[in-house]
């Protein structure tokens, strides 16, 4: 159904990064022009994605039947509130990453195609959020993965090659598992369209065994992509190796695409089988939270600590999803948005810690509070927010989640969520005490200059965190709309 009242140009959210990527290929070698296109296109994407959120809020889901074939025969792009919010945050992170890349990515990488790959990555991420078809989601995942492989390996240092090997092998295996899951769904239900799958399951079509088998395959695949216990090993082995810009964008967006896929399938499409899927997710989520935060406690490398915290925070999101109620899913969506902003910001802060403090190893850096008090503020706000200190955004996210957990009287899970929050704060305090308060040690590396482009994205992201912190209602409202649309497809 093509709604004429609603002519939002949804395709632009895909055509902007794709067009930019193609233009960037032709501009290869012309660093300046590429940089202009990179910043311009991501700014344009951000503007359009914000307009998309407004359009979805005003008129409901935006639908585009690609090729003119109506769903379920044709492949449909559909932006409900969840998709729109995710695309909007992708635009913001893409924009901040593009600015940060101006100062962080060397010309040698630009000559080897950094810019087009970055745009293809955003293209893949936006496509994953917008598609309404299971197999199409697989294709978008691959678009995203292939660009991420190259971005991860770009630079060619030994640790990068090693990290990429691990990242690549586990992700290829996960994609294969995803493909099998999609195949089983098609074989048992005869459709791949999300809404159609949900409809046919609720009508009792297909064998329960087939659908649950597919559910197991899909959950396995998405758990790898999201970094859930025990399938997270690729994440802390690879995220600390590439350029800081690449790390920050990956940390913000890629695992969250996995979380999005989990929400889309197990929160909405397969909701008729929740009694089977949610208990598994519940225990996996609790273990993910605990293992992630304990892993971080033993690290002394800024990005390794932060990588483990991604895993632990993914546990919170999965826990919200495992509750399955509308309030919990809305809290999860709030959590995802808050987390993307904060986590990317912390990875950007790591790049400045490296430059000013002389290294990423906490034992060999220090004195940052004296050297750059403004950086201390820009680090402290997202760090405390991640730990859940009121009145910052992480507090509201955790509060909403805890409210949902208390609603089902799961005291054990609530206790774990609170304990993990305290341990998160412990890790953030460790970075703070070692990098900022400690005197600069003798063996610290050389101090390197920083550029305005390092700081601007941090200021933008900190601003967004503060906006969510002091005016959380608008995001809660949008998250509520998103969860209602998910539960009533």
């Amino acid at each position: 159904m093509f709604d004429l009242m609603n002519p939002f140009p949804l395709y632009l959210c895909l055509l902007i990064p794709l067009g930019a990527a193609i233009v960037q290929i032709f501009l290869l070698g012309q660093s300046k022009a590429q940089r202009v296109v990179a910043v311009g296109s991501t700014a344009l994407l951000t503007a359009f994605s914000f307009a998309l959120v407004a359009a979805v809020k005003a008129h409901g889901p935006v639908i585009l039947d690609v090729g003119g074939w109506a769903a379920p025969v044709g492949i449909r792009l559909r932006a409900d509130m969840l998709s729109a919010l995710m695309v909007a945050i992708t635009g913001v992170i893409g924009f901040c990453g593009a600015i940060h890349g101006l100062a962080e990515v060397p010309i040698s990488d630009e000559r080897r195609g950094y810019h087009p790959l970055y745009q293809f990555l955003l293209f893949g991420v936006c496509g994953s959020f917008l598609t309404n078809d299971l197999f199409n989601l697989y294709v978008w995942f691959e678009v995203m993965l292939l660009s991420s492989f190259v971005l991860l390996a770009q630079g060619g240092s030994k640790s990068q090659l090693e990290g990429t090997v691990k990242y690549m092998v586990l992700n290829i295996v996960a994609s294969t598992v995803f493909l099998i899951g999609a195949g089983i769904i098609y074989a048992s239900l005869g459709t791949l369209n999300f809404a159609d799958i949900a409809l046919r399951i609720s009508q009792g079509q297909g064998s329960v065994t087939g659908i649950r088998l597919a559910g197991v395959f899909l959950m396995l695949a998405f758990a790898v992509k999201a970094g859930l216990f025990p399938l997270y090993a690729w994440l802390p082995s690879s995220y600390h190796t590439p350029r800081y810009t690449v790390s920050a964008v990956f940390a913000g967006l890629l695992t969250k695409v996995g979380v999005y896929a989990l929400i889309r399938t197990f929160g909405s499409t397969f909701s008729a089988h929740q009694s089977f899927t949610l208990p598994i997710l519940w225990w996996v989520a609790l273990l993910t939270m605990v293992i992630g935060v304990l892993g971080a406690a033993s690290q002394f490398h800024v990005r390794r600590i932060l990588s483990f915290h991604i895993i632990s925070q993914i546990g919170y999101m999965a826990l919200g999803l495992a509750l399955g109620t509308a309030g919990a899913i809305s809290a999860t969506i709030f959590y995802v948005i808050h987390h993307i902003v904060v986590k990317s910001n912390l990875f950007l802060a790591a790049s400045v810690i490296d430059r000013i403090g002389g290294g990423e190893d906490l034992r060999r850096t220090g004195g940052l509070y004296r050297a750059a008090p403004w950086l201390a503020v820009l680090f402290l706000i997202p760090a405390l927010s991640l730990g859940g200190i009121p009145p910052l955004s992480g507090f509201w996210a955790k509060l909403a989640l805890l409210e949902a957990i208390f609603g089902v009287h799961a005291w054990f899970a609530a206790g774990i969520a609170l304990a993990v929050g305290i341990l998160t704060l412990f890790s953030m305090t460790k970075i703070w005490a070692e990098a900022f308060w400690k005197e600069r040690p003798e063996n610290a590396g050389e101090r390197r200059p920083i550029h305005a482009a390092h700081v601007i994205p941090m200021v933008i992201l900190t601003g967004i965190t503060l906006l969510i912190s002091f005016y959380p209602t608008w995001l809660f409202e949008l998250a509520d709309i998103a969860s209602r649309q998910l539960l009533i497809p």
Partner: protein
């Protein structure tokens, strides 16, 4: 025919996972190849292979001949093969570079980025 394909799929998965668990980097690559081919076969065989007639509507007819196989899984596999081709091409280059720069083809010695 289905039985043969199912057995073949199982065989490919067995070989693939065995090779994935080896320490040699080349075997790892071959293992990935086997698994992705086996996944394609799963999609092909799951809805049934049909009776061998092509799903083309003959002139003067309104539906394809009876017993035709569903063409969609084949289209899915075609897409998956193309994607797999690109992924394997990248994997080959990456593993070759990793072997050249890290000086080892033993996966157990790739522990520098782990915790």
């Amino acid at each position: 025919m289905e039985t043969i394909i199912i057995l073949l799929t199982g065989f490919l998965f067995t070989c693939g996972f065995y090779l994935l668990l080896r320490r040699n980097i080349t075997r790892l690559l071959v293992g990935i190849l086997f698994i992705s081919q086996a996944a394609n076969l799963v999609i092909l065989v799951l809805p049934g292979l049909g009776s061998g007639v092509s799903p083309i509507i003959q002139e003067g007819q309104t539906a394809p001949p009876p017993g035709y196989p569903d063409p969609l899984p084949q289209a899915l596999i075609l897409t998956a093969i193309v994607i797999g081709f690109g992924v394997i091409a990248f994997a080959l280059v990456l593993l070759k570079n990793a072997y050249r720069d890290l000086g080892t083809d033993d996966l157990d010695s790739l522990k520098n980025t782990d915790v």
